[in-house]
């Protein structure tokens, strides 16, 4: 064979083998991380984890108060962030679609989407914790809601832009004002996609640690008082994993497994929602 062809084929073979190897490498980490997580986490998983409080080192206990705290903080964050995000996304896609302000907001929103979450924590510390004089569950919820907002804005806008214009025109020709068209026609058409956005936002914040470090802090005891420091799973994992006590470390692994399963379940559900919408 012509040596030029042989050389080109060889180079192609090398490059293709490398890209195959890179994919195996990337997937390998996923398997490795999940494998270790299940191995370490399952060994500590029992009913006690969900029914008992975090223990002092050396004694038995569970993760009830951080699980509860995470649920409360996350729910409130979603309750604050979702309406704001949906409204803002609505403006970008509907009222202000051709506005110059829209492209600025979209740009800023995209930056907020990947801004370092620890900076969000510092921001909320400056505006809430410092003036109030104490750490609180509210501050944690606000910090997380600031992460929810850009995610929901983005998906709401994208999904509303996918709604075909004839739908809007048909509704408008019946004499419906804009607000009704948006709420009763566009929202209904984009519902699955918007729900996906909310689910992805929940998945995103349920593992966030950095913004909670100096907002909701931590609490060793059972507390549902939003004005007091509140325990949350990621913070407890952080504290327990870095402790020298073996039983704390085991609980950290179990907590890590719970968070990961939650996040994976949420993102797979979100994906299933969008793909079933595409097929229908």
């Amino acid at each position: 064979m012509n040596p030029l062809f042989a050389g080109r084929r060889r180079r192609n073979m090398i490059a293709m083998t490398l890209s195959f190897a890179a994919t195996a490498f990337g997937l390998g980490w996923l398997v490795l991380i999940l494998g270790v997580l299940f191995w370490e986490g399952l060994s500590g998983l029992s009913l006690k984890v969900f029914t008992e409080m975090t223990p002092p080192p050396g004694s038995d206990g569970g993760l009830l108060n951080p699980i509860m705290g995470s649920l409360i903080i996350t729910s409130i964050a979603v309750l604050i962030g979702t309406p704001v995000g949906i409204l803002a996304g609505t403006y970008l896609a509907e009222y202000g679609r051709y506005d110059r302000l829209t492209s600025v907001i979209r740009f800023i929103n995209d930056i907020l989407l990947s801004a370092p979450s620890i900076v969000i924590g510092l921001f909320v510390y400056e505006i809430m914790v410092y003036p109030m004089g104490h750490f609180s569950g509210w501050a944690g919820a606000v910090a997380l809601s600031l992460i929810v907002i850009p995610v929901v804005v983005r998906t709401t806008e994208d999904m509303l832009l996918l709604v075909p214009n004839p739908l809007r025109e048909a509704a408008t020709s019946l004499g419906l004002p804009r607000a009704y068209v948006i709420r009763h026609v566009c929202y209904r058409a984009a519902r699955a996609g918007m729900l996906t956005g909310v689910l992805l936002a929940i998945a995103r914040i349920s593992g966030e640690t950095a913004p909670l470090l100096f907002t909701s802090l931590n609490n060793q005891f059972w507390s549902v008082d939003m004005n007091a420091p509140m325990a949350s799973l990621p913070i407890v994992i952080f504290q327990f994993a870095l402790s020298p006590y073996e039983d704390w470390q085991r609980l950290a692994w179990t907590g890590a497994l719970i968070i990961t399963l939650t996040v994976l379940a949420l993102s797979i559900t979100a994906r299933a929602l969008t793909s079933s919408r595409k097929e229908s």
């Binding site: 890209s19 370490e40 370092p116």
Partner: protein, 330 residues
């Protein structure tokens, strides 16, 4: 008709709502909804503006005390209250550099595999698997890095690096010192695993934006797959790929928890990547709640401000490039 008026009299004392009234109410809700959405959209700007103002306000004390020397001095002494940011800035840049050196080529190769080589039936599952890797919270990477990855590196990879590169002049300083396990190299490697999915999914998306006609023409004149990628796909998508890489870099610079676990939190600058160091985010995460004294916490907020400015610039460039590509595609 008679019935209806009787009903109206029975159920409402007021006159039945006139057409005008209904129209007015509709107009009112319409205007209200418009302003509500507009307000929420402006809220996004307020969040960013508020964050910048709050961070500047919080760091004022430190910036006034140290001035510009805060940026280039290396002291970090809570006892004498002397603070300088160069060690964490250095750590942030070095770990992110290591991460990008590893993640960019591998991420691009995975994207090539997904768009050019992979059988169509496997494309979606592999793509989803890679994206799941992006969904794993960073604290999971942290705990895994601390208990599994760092000890593994300490036992195998690090002694190997020290042995192999020991006799070579420059490399021996980069890989010098005892294998601690934790350190800047470990943090960089974990960051690489974390940003890999971001780079992969964005470059896959931009690779898919190449018009098939271009690729088919190249295949038609006898190019190999690699040549199509190298001379058609990559030049066409260069802007988008750079955007994706910058987006990954933005993530790496600001990543907190995964790094905090494995960096070692030592305020010093050492040429060896095996030595413990610190990053901006790790310093804040580790020290902020324990910071005693206004100057100490103010210095930490100033670190946060620096991090925010750096990532803002990087992310802005990334978004700008991706926007340019979108405009080209449209």
């Amino acid at each position: 008709m008679v019935d209806m008026t009787a009903e109206g009299a029975a159920y409402s004392v007021a006159e039945p709502p006139s057409r005008m009234k209904i129209l007015n109410r509709l107009r009112l809700t319409d205007t209200a909804f418009y302003w509500l959405t507009r307000l929420a959209a402006i809220g996004v700007l307020i969040i960013l503006g508020g964050a910048i103002v709050a961070l500047i306000d919080g760091s004022m004390l430190a910036l006034r005390e140290f001035g510009f020397s805060f940026l280039y001095t290396a002291h970090w002494n809570p006892v004498t209250e002397k603070f300088g940011a160069i060690a964490p800035i250095y750590g942030t840049l070095v770990t992110s550099l290591i991460a990008m050196l590893i993640a960019v080529p591998i991420g691009l190769m995975i994207a090539v595999f997904l768009t050019e080589l992979c059988p169509a039936s496997l494309r979606r599952p592999i793509g989803i698997a890679i994206e799941l890797l992006a969904g794993i919270p960073s604290i999971i990477y942290g705990i895994w890095g601390l208990f599994v990855f760092a000890p593994f590196l300490q036992r195998t990879v690090q002694p190997f690096l020290i042995d192999v590169f020991g006799p070579i002049p420059v490399l021996s300083t980069i890989f010098a010192g005892p294998p601690y396990g934790i350190g800047m190299l470990t943090a960089g490697l974990i960051l690489a695993i974390m940003v890999l999915p971001f780079i992969t999914s964005i470059s896959r998306d931009v690779f898919e934006s190449v018009p098939p006609v271009l690729k088919e023409a190249a295949y038609g004149v006898g190019c190999t797959t690699w040549e199509v990628v190298r001379y058609v796909v990559l030049p066409y998508t260069r802007v988008g790929v750079i955007g994706g890489v910058m987006l990954g870099l933005g993530r790496a610079l600001g990543e907190t928890m995964a790094v905090t676990f494995v960096i070692g939190n030592a305020h010093r600058i050492s040429a060896s990547t095996l030595a413990p160091g610190t990053t901006i985010s790790a310093t804040i995460a580790n020290e902020f709640t324990e910071a005693v004294g206004d100057l100490y916490s103010s210095s930490l907020v100033a670190l946060g401000l620096i991090l925010f400015v750096i990532t803002f610039i990087v992310l802005a460039i990334a978004r700008y490039m991706l926007m340019r590509l979108e405009r080209k595609a449209a």
